[in-house]
Assembly symmetry: C2
Homo-oligomer: 209 residues x 2
């Protein structure tokens, strides 16, 4: 992952947006991968789920790996945009403000792309596609740790926890919401984003006035 790739997120979509049928197949595939596990899901299972024949599926997609790659790219492209924008902001905006903003926007991405982010967070590196996704995740993790380090350096954040550990725990809390968040449930997206930023930056303990 290099800065050259940061610069041109758009060309990655060179194969064009998936058509309507392809989108429906992708959605069903991701749902099935999350429910049963990617390795345990066959194209036959997917065909059955959609009430299609296997040849009908293969008319739209070339392989199970292609579906996995598209889903992981969906999640990673969104997260990369959020992180790249946060690290590129004009110097007038503090690292602390950019970090709070990246937390808030990550919550938005997780809620809007919950199925593909869930799949991404479960990737273990069992194939080339999964290893490439892990590489992109690592790049994002490093940028986030840099941003935390910048916020510590400017004096806005406590300096007694290593920035890389702060970053892991902070985004560990953010990412945990894919496991339980339900759109239309008890908490809306803004409430969750507020709760995470309040807890992480200001703490749960009530400060004496």
């Amino acid at each position: 992952m290099t800065t050259t790739e940061q610069a041109e997120p758009a060309p990655r979509r060179r194969r064009g947006r998936p058509g309507h049928d392809q989108s429906a197949i992708l959605r069903a595939a991701v749902e099935l991968f999350n429910r049963r596990g990617y390795d345990a899901t066959s194209m036959g299972d997917l065909a059955k789920e959609l009430g299609l024949t296997k040849p009908a599926i293969y008319h739209h997609v070339t392989s199970k790996e292609q579906l996995l790659g598209q889903a992981l790219d969906d999640a990673l492209d969104e997260l990369t945009t959020v992180v790249t924008e946060a690290t590129r902001r004009p110097p007038g905006v503090s690292a602390y403000q950019r970090l709070r903003e990246v937390v808030r926007r990550s919550v938005e991405v997780l809620v809007a792309h919950q199925p593909s982010v869930t799949l991404l967070l479960r990737v273990r590196g069992n194939s080339e596609i999964e290893l490439a996704a892990l590489e992109r995740r690592r790049w994002l993790d490093d940028r986030l740790a840099d941003l935390v380090a910048d916020a510590v350096a400017e004096g806005a954040l406590r300096d007694d926890v290593p920035p890389a550990l702060v970053s892991r725990l902070l985004f560990g809390m953010v990412n945990s919401l894919v496991e339980w968040y339900r759109p239309g449930g008890a908490y809306d997206q803004a409430m969750v984003a507020d709760a995470i930023t309040s807890i992480a930056f200001d703490g749960l303990a009530r400060h004496e006035p």
Copy 2:
């Protein structure tokens, strides 16, 4: 290594504590379930991994489900002990102190039982055993939310985030460590427990003196 010789003491111990061979099989099974996914792993895969024949495995364990159940019980029994002790403490100990303590002890359990807790956190409810494990997890989540509510009621915690949401996010942060924690890595268990309690209770922002 011949399986016949290893096998001798096992049958008498089948219902009690796992014997030595059974423990080794369980450890390998959990590692394989976490790496490939439970549904994608067969008893044949497990036998291959251990360099045993399938009949040799079945001499020690009755089914893949039995191995799953044992691993989930291992994680759940430990977590239940921690949570039950935290909720039963003498009234002299504040809910706030008990909550901080349960966070710290949960980190200990996650580090000491990382493979089985990892498996537990990935359970989706695809079988009776998984549904029973989810039921036990829900019970733990409810106790933790009650403890957070008690700490809010005693005035120690902020009251602008619903206790159930605090509990999800707090233990979401704790649980996230199974994804990246490596024993002997950059951070030891005490450092991670300190970092989580500092971030969650006191916040990342540096408070003005």
